[in-house]
C-alpha cells in the first residue's frame, strides 16, 4: 500500500509526452497514464532536435530508474556530468531512495510477521523452559505416578497482557515440556545403537530405520489422538499432544536396557511396569485436555459426550500406550 502511492510522483514527473512546448502540459498528466509508457518514450524525447539543453536538464535528473539514463544520454553529451550530479543531489531522487528503503523495511516486517504466524517461536520456547530440578522430578513422576496428588496445571495471569496462561514447566511440574521427550528419544536411539554394536550387528542404516519407524509411529499416534479429540469436540493443542506422546520413550529406553542385560522375564516385567506407569501418567495428564474443568468451559459438553471422552481416554491411555510401546520395541 505504501509503496506505489508514495513513489508515483517521481515516476510520472519526468516523462515528456510531446515535443518541448508541450512539456508543461505533460506535467499535469494523470498519475496512471504516464507510468507504463515512461521508459519507452523518454529516448524519443531526447532525440528531438528542438529540445533545448535546459529542458533535458530538467527531465534527466528526475528520471527515477538509473538504467534509463545510459540510453538517453549519448545524444546530450555535454550535459552528462551535471545530470549525474543532479541525480544524486536532487530532492526527488532522495525521496525515491527514502521510499525504496521504507518499502524494503516494510516488506521485511511483513515477512517477519507472517513467519511468526506459522512458526511461533514463543509457542515452542514455552516447552523448553525447564530446570534441572523439574527434569529430575518429572522423570520420577513418569516412572512413579501413583501417589502424585494434584494433576491440574497451574494458571498464571501475566501482568502485561492480563491474560491467563499456563505456568511454564520450570514453575509447574504438571506442565508438558518437550525437552524430556526429545532427550528420551535421542537416548533411545543411542542405547539401541550401542546394544546393536555390542552384539556386532550395528550398521549405519540401522539409525535411519529406527528413527523413521519411531517417528512414523509417533505421527500415527498423534494423528489418532488428534482425530479423536476432534470427534469428541475437545480442543487440544497439537504441541501438547506431541509432548505427551514423547514421554513413553523413557519407558522404552528402560525396557531396551533391561532386554539387553537380563533375561526375558525381567524384560517383560519391566515392560509391564513402565508401560503401566506411563499409561497412568498419560491418563492423568490428558484428563485436562479431554475433560476440562466445568468452571473453565461451561459450553455444551453433554453427559453422553463426557462419557465417551472418559472411555476414549481410558482406552487410549492403557490399550494404545501398550500397543505403541510394543510396536516401538
Amino acid at each position: 500500500m505504501q509503496y506505489p502511492s508514495a513513489s508515483s510522483p517521481p515516476l510520472h514527473h519526468p516523462v515528456p509526452q510531446h515535443p518541448v512546448h508541450f512539456q508543461q502540459g505533460g506535467y499535469g498528466n494523470p498519475a496512471g497514464a504516464a507510468q507504463s509508457g515512461g521508459t519507452s518514450r523518454q529516448p524519443q524525447a531526447y532525440r528531438n532536435p528542438y529540445a533545448p539543453p535546459q529542458g533535458v536538464q530538467q527531465t534527466a535528473p528526475q528520471a527515477q530508474p538509473s538504467t534509463i539514463q545510459p540510453q538517453g544520454m549519448p545524444n546530450v553529451i555535454p550535459n552528462v556530468p551535471t545530470a549525474l550530479n543532479s541525480i544524486l543531489s536532487d530532492p526527488n531522487a532522495q525521496l525515491g531512495f527514502e521510499v525504496g528503503r521504507n518499502a524494503l523495511n516494510y516488506g521485511q516486517e511483513y515477512i517477519g510477521r507472517n513467519m511468526g504466524k506459522y512458526m511461533d517461536a514463543g509457542a515452542f520456547s514455552y516447552y523448553f523452559q525447564v530446570s534441572n530440578f523439574y527434569v529430575f522430578r518429572k522423570l520420577l513422576l513418569v516412572m512413579f505416578p501413583w501417589r502424585h496428588k494434584p494433576w491440574s496445571r497451574q494458571i498464571v495471569r501475566s501482568d502485561s497482557t492480563g491474560q491467563d496462561t499456563y505456568a511454564t514447566p520450570r514453575e509447574d511440574l504438571n506442565a508438558p515440556d518437550m525437552y524430556i521427550p526429545i532427550m528420551a528419544f535421542t537416548t533411545y536411539m543411542v542405547v539401541f545403537s550401542i546394544i546393536q554394536g555390542l552384539l556386532g550387528q550395528f550398521h549405519p542404516q540401522l539409525l535411519g530405520i529406527v528413527t523413521s519407524k519411531s517417528l512414523a509411529l509417533m505421527v500415527v499416534e498423534i494423528s489418532f489422538l488428534k482425530l479423536f479429540s476432534y470427534l469428541l469436540a475437545a480442543s487440544s493443542s497439537l504441541l501438547d499432544l506431541i509432548a505427551y506422546s514423547g514421554y513413553k520413550f523413557i519407558a522404552i529406553t528402560l525396557v531396551t536396557l533391561a532386554a539387553a542385560t537380563s533375561s526375558s522375564l525381567v524384560k517383560w516385567t519391566t515392560f509391564t511396569y513402565t508401560g503401566a506407569a506411563t499409561a497412568f501418567f498419560m491418563l492423568r495428564s490428558l484428563r485436562y485436555v479431554l475433560l476440562p474443568e466445568s468452571s473453565n468451559s461451561t459450553s455444551t459438553v453433554n453427559s453422553g459426550m463426557r462419557q465417551k471422552r472418559i472411555q476414549f481416554l481410558f482406552i487410549y491411555s492403557f490399550v494404545c500406550q501398550f500397543v505403541f510401546m510394543w510396536l516401538l520395541l
Binding site: S212, K213, A216, L217, V219, V220, L227, Y230, L231
Partner: protein, 80 residues
Amino acid sequence: MFGLGLLFYVTILLLNAVAILNEERFLARLIGDESPSFGGHNPETIGTRLLTLIRAIRTVMRPILVVFNIVIIFYELVLG
C-alpha cells in the same frame, strides 16, 4: 519395515478411500437423514462431526490427491 515412506503411502491410500465415498449411497445411510443444517440446534454428535470431517476431506483434498496419485503412479511405474 514400517517407516515414514510407508506411512506416506498409507496416508495417501486412506485419503483416497475417504475421497471416493459416495455421498448418496453411503454417507446418507451412514448417518441417517441428517442434512447439514446451518445454525441448527441439533446437538453435535460423533456422527455429525465425522460427516463434517469426511466432507471437508473430500472438498479440500481432491485436487491434491489427484496430483499425488499421478506422481506416485509414475514413480512406481518407472522406479518401483
